[in-house]
Structure formats: structure tokens, C-alpha cells
Point group: D2
């Protein structure tokens, strides 16, 4: 199978390229640049990929569909909403890592501060939270990194009405690669190293994506309190989730709910009572690891969810969706262990 | 004035020694070791202090009281509860950075897992949260680092009953120096770098210290949800505090409450609406910087409080208490600006 | 094929386990513990490998040889010199990542400060610098991490007598994982973060290993000046190599020599003139990347060589030697791209 | 005394402002911006200085001379060569942290790739390597950070002809703050963290500054081999210096030469045999710490020199020169201990 990738110069695109190169069902990865212009050698676009000899060619919808079985888009918000319309019209398979097709038009416009994709195109997309959506359409909106970590941590609690739906607080921490390659004063090493910085307090564009999915699971969830803190690491997200229990419970009872929901999921691990996950145990893997604790004094449930934002939070989950779309084994092409230490 | 310091080999002790050396009211810093044994050169105990020529002498209560006007204790928990009893009996001024005299005996035993100091000794101690306790006794129990950051962030809200007292969640993050110099598998560079690790979930010994003070401000506060996450930095604490508002409010109204409480405090800064503090703006200074936000959608108050755990969270606050005890200017011997970048 | 691994609890062992699990010629990895005792679950030995269900069994030479086609040893110095003697006697294939079989007995004793393996056992070992030794015996002494980076950087210059053999200076930098998991005051995060520390100045045990190989290439090399500096990263080695040119030359001429020597080597890349390698472009891959520069003003050749110390410097090169020993494709089981960013 | 500072928005300027605020001889620090325009609040220019209420006013030569006793310039290269000409003409005291007045015109143009200051202005400047120049003119060219670390490490060896002058190799490592605040792809956290990057190989503008001073000490020094490697720390420089000994010697003999040269210098420490300095023991202080080793096998002298690039390498040395120029105590206003840990 030949596959197409647009957006290899971004962090998610690089990681996706590496995964696709090693995927047993993929014979060739064709690279396309959405900004037109000249053909460029991959190694000049991504200096870390010195060994590669392939080129990035200008994107052309017809060529992409002729040469490939599927298109992966690892572009920033605002690109695919126009770029892929011919492919949507032709029902050509697309896995889109950007946020352009995750939300209704009005919500997108409010949170992304720009015009949305056409409504009829949006209608063809399905949200690819891999552990929960098993009926993907040909256009897969791959979830955001914060959304993935947070939704996997909340799913059992919300689906089974185990928490007070008005009490959800998410204190999310992320490494800098989640913000992409854009140069800003706050992304420079001297400002990130030895530091913590909050950003987009209650304004992060993953909030509506999370709430939309939670409401589908339980319409009683009105909103969430959600903060994002930039931590001095390159990769990794930790979502620390707090909520009041619906009724007094125990850590053991909560763990049972989690273990039941994720029993057959190869990429979600639930830790035993008393253990909490660390970032390093997921970096380089496609895993989400969950720790659960109940505090009877405050009647508060604590869930800690960790992922590699570029793997499970982007490129790895895209491969999961690719495997599902093409009826390949669920774990094909995905590493089973973290790159540790 | 000559002052005594026991515990210079620990991180708080090192920082305290540096502050005392620069303090305009201090002529000489005498060092004592609580583990007895031989006299040792400071530069062998703290290799970073190569230039210093003073020695650490074995601790002897009578000598300490003869030579000095005050004793600073920067020792681990469990040391001062016996070491300083002769000084307490003599009403000799002591500023104790450890947790031994912050809690009632039963609470101490429960959270520190060891016997407490004698009840009559405990009765002589006062809790030295510098911005709020202006009637110190001769025995000052200097607050813990997490307690300082969290209490300064909660004080206006609790004192003025602005929050729902059953809803307080504290997601605290700390650099490794807060855990002291003890070697453990989780303190090694390979485990801390590029990582986040939770520890002592709902079991940290600063929890009862925080709750005790909150109850003094407002007896309606029953407990707090409190987690601690180890971040890959050497110095710094961020307490991210969430609580439901008692009644619908605004960021502006909350900021007014904070600004009023801290108007005359040289070491507490309240940021304007829309700004949140970063760790680096307090490292090396004695400041606590606070950011405040109200989310009308979730009716949740967010307060972010940052300090340098070894300064405002330990040695710096000890100097504040020293200044107050000896009626020196509040800012004497304390840097007014962070070590930045 | 079934393969045996002893030493999975160390960093090199963990990485080797991950590589072997993904190797197309390996059906099963059997784990053995050299310290005897009880059977232990891998996930308790390596918490980052939570998903694994295999156990570590006590090492027994006969069992190892019955069950497996080859033994990988990722143990500390001093273990294999006795542990594997029965396997050497039986000419059973062993790939040894430790330093026990790299040096003559007297040299080993001098630099490792302990007794060496028996002389007749040492005689059966071959030094597995993968790009240069194509006649491996059944006992492969896998090179040290510093030795690999340094020898690959020096090989063309020494083999072709392009430098003054008395002028070689190697300023090597390494991340902490190179020092293993041992807890020391200098390995704690607070001492490694934001710091540089030299260690074993002119006394590192990889020095005789390097010089021995250089002398085989050109007997005129008498010794090297070699320092090691611990840098605040987990993985990665950079060897910065300086030497006076034998006769005035140019960067272009030197690059030609390097390109010729490494033309057919899949895991060594020579950068074009004007470029220098960075650590991150090799982390997670088995590559060595080389940059070369000639300074006509000082007549000095500069070579910068980077590797991932746990891959090309340990487990990755072990896989290269395994592939060669069993006549598998040179790149089997080895990632072709770094884990970037 | 009132003092003027231009360039407070840069890292050296921030550190210098903090030092001047604490200096016992300084009553007031007046800030001026060289880019003209409007008056700006310091706290908007340097957000970490939230507490400060002073403003940055547009630079005006006459005003500066009227209001102040001295001008400190912490500007980038290329600014002072025109900005301060009226002050030079008036023989007004200036301490210039930039490189504009350190080199002869032709050398400056070659290495800085721009026009130099007027020759008659250059003639009035003196090079302020504080430990060695005790006859400062009114215009002090404060040395560069790499130059300071390297020259202090080489001075005894070159002045006393203890090395082979054609054999000097300097492998210098620096934290990112040395490169200033400019945003580049290589200064982003994701590229600096967990990485090492060489830059300006044999082309760093501090090379001619170093060689010029070495030649003044011993005209036989023709050039030096000098590389710079960016390390993942914010502050700190380590210069690792190698040279062949002029004649066979010992570590003890070399140490004696160093101790003699620096016996009365409060800011240079020479470590005993067998010890090597670490970066952290100088961060936040004005010290240079030196370690010395002789390898009889390779006849090579190793000197390791560490400084805080923003203190001894910039603002701290500027205070030393200020103290000397105004005949203040050598240590006035300078911290005697590092900010550790």
C-alpha cells in the first residue's frame, strides 16, 4: 500500500513519517507540501532525517488520490478545511490530525477564531477517539492531544455516572512539542527550562472537543474547568483530573470500572491501587496509562492520565485509526514499549 | 549580632547561610552540627562553598546560647523536637525550619509517623506565616514550602468566605530540592529529567498544616484535596488552586480582595487580570506572586501561587521572621529581585 | 529463534529487550537474572514495562544453552568473567555488552581495578566494533559507548595516517544513562540539572580499549588525551576530537577519506562540509553521525562524533553483531530514524 | 552616586540592574533605551521585574552625563560604536559590555562583519580583564564571556611559558543565555533540551579577543583552536583547555603557578589536585573556579575554567571594573557565594 502524508515538517508529521516507514502494511510513504512551491528534499525540511532521500512534492489532489490509498494530514489548524475538499467529495480516505473537522462550524469559529470548513464536508467526518469509535467514516478527525488524555481518564466515570458532572477540574501539563515549532518568546529554552508557564486559561481549543464528547456519553456534563501548564519537557502530557464522587465510593470500586472499560484495549493500562503513572513510562509508545485514587475525606476522585502527545496524542492514534479503517491488526506498526530511560 | 545555624549541609541550610552572610544586622554566622562528632570544614560539607573558611562545630546548647542571639534550625523532621528543648526552657529565640513544632502532638504523630515534641514545648511555639502572624513567640515554627504557597493563595478567599469551603482542590508542583538531598531511585537525574512523578497523594505532611491554618481563618473549611507532582526543575513551587465560588463573582472582584489583603506586603505581588505567574519570576527572590481568574461557566475560582521553595518557602521566610522577632526592617537582608534568567 | 538476555534491569538491558522484542528473527526473549534468587516479574524489575507479563528466571548455564540460540549479557563489569565460562567452553554464541572481554588480562586489571577473566577465555573473544570487524568469533565483546563514538570518528584519520599520532585530544560528553543506575550524590537531579561535571579525568576504562584499537590500525599512536564530561541529558554521547594534521590538508580532502571508509555503512553518516552533528539527530536510532572540519590556521583537524550511548553505544551495536553472527541483514531489527523531536 | 544603564532588556542588562540595585555605592539606577521612542515601564520590558516602578527613558547623551557618574552599556554588538561617541569625547566614564571596543578596527570588521568604531575612539578604550588590567582608562571594554573564562585559565601557563604555544585547544561549552534573547530555530526549547549543538566553529568573535590578549602576554602564541558547544543549561560557561607542556612537569608544579598568580584575587579560586570544577559552584556568583591536571603519558596540560557567563562573564566583571574605576573595595556589591543548589 502507498500512503500520502502532508505536513512532515511539523513534529506530529515527523513522528508519523517514522511510524509509517516501519508499518508492515505500508510499502511507500509519499510526501506532499501544502504550501505549493518547489520540490524539496526531506532532509532539508527535517535535518534530523539526514539519511532519507525522498522529496516533498507540491500537493495535488488528483495525484494524491491516484498514487495512494489514504492521506494523512499533519497540518496546523486552518489548512485541511480547504485543502482536502476534493478528497471528501470523492470519499477518499483521509486521517486528519488537525482540529479542522472535530467541531461543529459555530463552535470551531468561536474557539479557533477563524472560519470553519463547509457544513456538508464537516458532516462526513467522524471523531476518531480510537478506543471508543469503532464506526469510522472515510474522513477521520483524529483527536487532540489534551482531549485524548483527558477523555480516556474521564470515560468510565462519565459513562457510568460515577462523578458529580458539575465538579470536573482538569489540571493538564504538557511538554513544548505540543505547541508546535512556532518561535515565540515563551518557547525559547531560557523561558521554558527551569520554569512552569500557564497558557490559554479556560480558552484552550481542546475544551469544546472534550466537552462535546463528554456530553455524548452523559448529557448532564455542563462544562469543565481546564488549565494547561507548559512544563520543561519536550514530549508528554499529564492530565490530572479531579471530580467529586456521585456517591461515596472506594478506589477499588473505581478501579474495577476502569479495568472493565479498558480490558481489551492494547494501548490503555490501568495501574493497581496505590500507583500513579509517570510521563516517562509512555514516551515513545502509543500507551495511555491511568492511575486512580479516591479520597474519602474530600469525597474526591483523582485520575491521572499520561500519554506521549506526539504518539497516542497524534501520530500513534492516527495509526490506530488507519489500522481500523483498513481492517489491519489493532497493534500493527505501533511500538509496544516506551523508549526508556 | 552573632547568629547560630544548625543544618547547613541541607539545601535550606545552604541558602540560609548565604542570606545570613549578607544580612546587614548579622556580624557572624556560627555553624553547629547536630550529629555530634568532629569539627568539620564547611567547604567539605558544602563543596559549592569552596571559598569559606569557617568550621562546623558540634552542637552544644549552652555554647549556642552564650555565643549567639538566635538559633536557626534547618534540620530534617525529628531533630529539633529533642535538640532544642534546653533553649525552649530558657526562652532563647529559635527559628525552626523543620515541621517539628507546627502541629499538635497527635496530628504530628499521625502525619510524620513518629513521636512528637513534648506538649509543653509545643505550647511555646508560634506558627510563623510571615504575612499573617505578627505576634511571634520566641520559638518560631517556620511554615512548610507547600503550606506557604498554598496559604498565601487561599488566604483572601477563605478569610472573606469567597469560596465554597468543601470544594478546595490544590494541584501543587515542586522542584526536587523540596525533597532534600536524600538519594532515592526517584531522585536520580534519569528519572526526574523529562518526567513528572506524583508522590504522597493525599498523604503529604503539609496537608494538616494547611488545613489547621485555614480552619483558624474560617472554621467551615473541612479538608482539602491536595496532590504533589515532582517536576524537572531544581527550585520552585507552583500551587494551582481551584474552588467553587461561594456566590457568582468576577475576576475583578476577586483581585480587589487580594490586592487589599496584600497591599502593604513587600513580598507578595498580585498580578493584573489576564496574567499568570511563572516559576522563574520568583527563583532567587523571597517573593510570592499570585494570579487570579474566575470562570463564570464553571463558577470556579483559579489561583496560581508561585514561590522559590528554598527562599519564601524556607530560608527567606525565616529571615522575615528573624527581622520581625528582632524588630528589624521587614526587607532587611532579602533580595528584592529574582535571579533571572 | 529464541534468545537469552541477562541484565534486563540495567539501562542497556532495557533497550536491548525492546529491540529484541521487535526483531524479525527473534520469536521469544528469555530473561535470566545473574544474582540467583527468586523468579521475578519483569514489570517489577522495570516499572516502565508495565505491560509485559514475562518473568526473569535465575541464570543457569545449561538451561540457557538448551533454550536459546544466543546469550546477550548486559551486565556490569565483573559479572561475565565468571558467569559465562561454561558457555565459552561450549563455544555457545555470546554477545557481551560489558567490558570483561575487551582487554588483555593485565590491562583489564589495571583499569578496572579487579581480577580479569581467565586468559584462555579471553583468547576466544573478538572485539565487535561492527563497522570494522567482520570476522567475529562466538564470543563477541561489544565495544564501550565512548570507544564506539571515538573510534568511528578517528578510524579514517588513523588508518590513513592523516594526523599526528601524538596529538590526539578527545573531549567526550555523555548523558547520565552512560553511568548506569547506581545512586550517587553526583547522579541526583539537583547535581546534574543545569550543571557540567568532569569525572575520571584520564582514568576512564574506555581509554585502553580505544588505544588498543588505534594501535591495531596504526602502531604509531602512543596514547590519547581523553576527558569525560557529564552533561544534563539522559541519553547521548558526543566525542569532540582534535588532532594536528600530518600534513596541511583541507576539509574537502578529509571528508573524502571519511566518505570512502563509510560509503557502504548503513549506520554511519558523514555530514557535508560546514555542518556539525547534534545529539538529538541520533537519539533512539543506531546511527553515528560525523562532522569534520580542518582549521588551516592551527593545522588542526576537528571531528565531532555523536551516538545514542544505549543504542549504537550498547544495545544497537549488539544487534548489529547479532545480525552479523547469524548472517541476517545488517539492518534487521534496527530503527532507521531517530526518535525526534 | 547615580549610575546609567542602557540595555536593561537583555540578559546581561537584567543581571547588571539587579547588581547595581544592591550595590552599596549606588543610590539610583537610571535606565535609558538606545532605540529612542517612548518612555516604557521597566516591568513591561522585563516581566520578571514586576515589582519595579522605574521607567526606561530614551537615551540622550547630555542628560546621561548630567544625571550620572558613569554609564553601563549592556547592548548588542554594533550599538555603542556610535551611541557613546559624545561621552568618549567628553572623557565621561563608560563600562561597555559589548564587543565594540575590544578589538582594532580591522579585526573587528573581519570577525563582527560590520564597520568598526572610529579609530580615535577605539584608542581611548582599555580592555577590562579585571584580574590583570589595573590601569583602566575612562572607557572600559568589558571582556566577552568566553574570553574571560579562557584567559583566566590560560594566563599562568602563557605568562610563564609553561605550554607549547602552538598546541592550545579550547573546547568551550555555554548555556543559552550567552546567545542573548534572539529567537532562532536552534534556541527553541525542543532543540536545546536533551541536545548539544556546536556553532561558529573556529569563527566565534571571541577568538581574536583571546588571541590578542595571549599575544600581549607571550608573543609566541600564534592562534588557538576554539570550539563552542551549546549545552542545555540557561547560565554557565566551561572552558576545557588542552595544551602540550613546554617541558615535562607535574600537576603540583602547575598548581603552584596558578596559586601564585591568583593568590590575592577574591574572585578566582584554584582547586586542589584531583578536583575539577562544576558549573553549579559558580552560578549566581562572580567567581571563576579553575581545575588543573597534568597527564604525563600524553604530556598534556588540562585546565578547566568555569564562570557564570552573565556574572563574571558580563555584569559581575563590569561591577569589578566599576569598583576599580571609582576606587571602591574590590568586592563591593558582588555576592561571595553561588546560588546553590
Amino acid at each position: 500500500m502507498q500512503v500520502a502524508l502532508v505536513g512532515v515538517s511539523g513534529y506530529s508529521g515527523m513522528v508519523l513519517y517514522r511510524l509509517l516507514k516501519q508499518h508492515p502494511a505500508v510499502d511507500q510513504v509519499n510526501l506532499y507540501g501544502h504550501q505549493g512551491g518547489q520540490l524539496a528534499a526531506l532532509k532539508t525540511v527535517v535535518p534530523a532525517f539526514q539519511k532519507e532521500t525522498v522529496n516533498v512534492r507540491p500537493f495535488d489532489a488528483a495525484t494524491v488520490m491516484t498514487e495512494n490509498a489514504v492521506l494523512f494530514c499533519a497540518t496546523s489548524a486552518g489548512v485541511t478545511k480547504t485543502l482536502v475538499l476534493p478528497l471528501i467529495a470523492a470519499d477518499f480516505p483521509v486521517i486528519d490530525l488537525s482540529g479542522d473537522f472535530r467541531l461543529p462550524a459555530a463552535t470551531y469559529t468561536k474557539w479557533y477564531h477563524q472560519a470553519a470548513a463547509p457544513v456538508q464536508a464537516l458532516a462526513k467526518a467522524s471523531y476518531g477517539l480510537a478506543e471508543f469509535n469503532h464506526r469510522l467514516t472515510h474522513y477521520v478527525a483524529n483527536p487532540g492531544c489534551y482531549a485524548t488524555a483527558t477523555l480516556l481518564g474521564l470515560a468510565p466515570l462519565v459513562q457510568q455516572h460515577l462523578l458529580d458532572p458539575t465538579s470536573i477540574v482538569v489540571d493538564a501539563k504538557s511538554g513544548l512539542s505540543g505547541a508546535g515549532k512556532k518561535l515565540t518568546a515563551t518557547s525559547q529554552f531560557t523561558m521554558v527550562n527551569d520554569n512552569l508557564q500557564l497558557y490559554k486559561v479556560n480558552q484552550h481549543q481542546h475544551i469544546p472537543e472534550i466537552v462535546q464528547q463528554l456530553k455524548q456519553w452523559w448529557s448532564a456534563v455542563p462544562a469543565i474547568e481546564f488549565t494547561t501548564t507548559l512544563i520543561p519537557v519536550t514530549r508528554g502530557i499529564m492530565s490530572t483530573i479531579y471530580a467529586k464522587a456521585a456517591t461515596p465510593t472506594t478506589t477499588a470500586a473505581l478501579l474495577q470500572a476502569f479495568q472493565q472499560v479498558y480490558a481489551d484495549q492494547p494501548f490503555v493500562q490501568v495501574l493497581p491501587a496505590g500507583e500513579m503513572p509517570t510521563l516517562k513510562q509512555v514516551i515513545g509508545s502509543n500507551d495511555c496509562v491511568l492511575g486512580v485514587n479516591y479520597n474519602p475525606v474530600t469525597k474526591t476522585i483523582l485520575v491521572v492520565s499520561v500519554i506521549d502527545n506526539l504518539m497516542k496524542g497524534a501520530a500513534g492514534q492516527a495509526i490506530q485509526n488507519f489500522n481500523q479503517l483498513f481492517q489491519l491488526p489493532a497493534t500493527a506498526g505501533l511500538p509496544s514499549l516506551p523508549v526508556f530511560p
